[in-house]
Symmetry: C2
Subunit: 246 residues, 2 copies
């Protein structure tokens, strides 16, 4: 059994996971942010990543459904509001769909997820199930990749603006908004986890939850990279960019 960590030690361990395994390190993101992808590859990324975006409110509602404390639910509910919005045309999912349209995708096709890779859907639903089934502490800990999100969003905004024609304030509004939302969310989640992980076993659960979540994100990019960067690998039924039709 591991020794019990102090809250500071636990936080350092969690941040180390980000430094070693967060998907900003993935080759696909290097290509994306460095302007090395063509339009079809960017479309594939936006289309597949929609599966993840679209599932986040279900994930957060699953978490909410396991919270017995009104205050905690009220705090967590904000995430659902952020993503689903307060009315038509509002919310993070809507902003992602604006990005999808700006890169030339059909909104209905994106929402259908018909063209998304099976591996993307499996990873995303594994995340929803994890949050539904694992202890509440671990479910909350799995959200802590937000610790590392502002860095990637800043890098992404700069990289996309520099390299791609579609990139402007409108198409990138999702990322700009998350720069405000994510730090507020993660502050709450991190404080909760550091406070509630009181045994070595719970701390290991928290660490494993964050490792699991970095796997969820990484696996999505592996699937994208395999299908859309290396030639000839698009699976049956998945989105085929115009550039890659014959």
């Amino acid at each position: 059994m591991n020794a019990l960590l102090s809250p500071d030690e636990l936080e350092a361990r969690l941040r180390q996971i980000g430094a070693e395994r967060y998907h900003d390190l993935h080759p696909f993101h290097k290509l994306l942010h460095g302007g090395k992808l063509n339009r079809g590859q960017v479309q594939a990324w936006v289309l597949n990543r929609y599966c993840y975006q679209g599932a986040i409110p279900r994930k957060d509602a699953a978490l909410l459904s396991r919270m017995h404390d009104v205050e905690l639910r009220r705090e967590w509910r904000r995430r659902i509001v952020d993503h689903d919005g307060s009315g038509p045309g509002d919310g993070g999912i809507e902003r992602w769909l604006v990005l999808a349209e700006c890169v030339g995708l059909d909104r209905g096709y994106v929402v259908s997820t018909d063209g998304a890779l099976a591996a993307t859907k499996f990873a995303v639903e594994a995340y929803v199930r994890f949050v539904r089934e694992r202890p509440l502490l671990e479910a909350i800990a799995s959200s802590l990749t937000e610790l590392f999100a502002p860095g990637i969003h800043k890098e992404r905004i700069a990289g996309l603006l520099q390299h791609y024609d579609f990139a402007d304030d409108k198409s990138l509004s999702y990322f700009r908004k998350r720069l405000d939302e994510a730090p507020r969310d993660v502050k709450f989640g991190l404080a909760y986890v550091l406070r509630e992980a009181r045994t070595a076993e719970q701390q290991q659960g928290v660490i494993d939850a964050l490792l699991f979540k970095t796997d969820v994100l990484w696996a999505q990019l592996d699937a994208l990279h395999h299908a859309y960067v290396e030639p000839g690998n698009i699976p049956p039924g998945a989105f085929v960019p115009e550039e890659m039709t014959t």
Copy 2:
């Protein structure tokens, strides 16, 4: 197999379930609304019913976590906001706790649910689990007891005001608020169910879901009646009103 019903026939069948099985027909409610309960018995009702009130946002979040449509989630989210409120001192659960204090209960004791009957907790958690596990259509259908709620709330407000000293605008604010909220909610839920139950099998699922829900409500009152109306039946660990201590 049953024949496929028209939407009107299905609605009539659902309303018939209310007429035959909604808990306004339960002897405990007759005693409550007729002023036949003493303070301790009213306390027992408020204390136990808190378990149900307190679980409703978890139930609705479980439903939310299964909805793939943003619009649908946005509509359903309102129920969570209604119950959890927008900040401290707001929301249906808070209004129920005001009622609890007005009948002389300690707020912390109520929230702990330590004194609630095991049968109450089993019934309430059966409802949360039903919504989590059954098809979405049936989960939504189980909310349709709200069709019958305005009647009981009106009767309750009138009966309590007439018969009990604690009853006033403040203590009964929960019920007054639900008079506005429930019809709006149920209008949406009923339309969804009548539209989406397209096969005889689905219609039977909807009917069974509403029957299940009336059982959830009825079983709570049976347990209350047995423990607090018939003498000598309070189970070990359950709340003992001052009137019944020796």
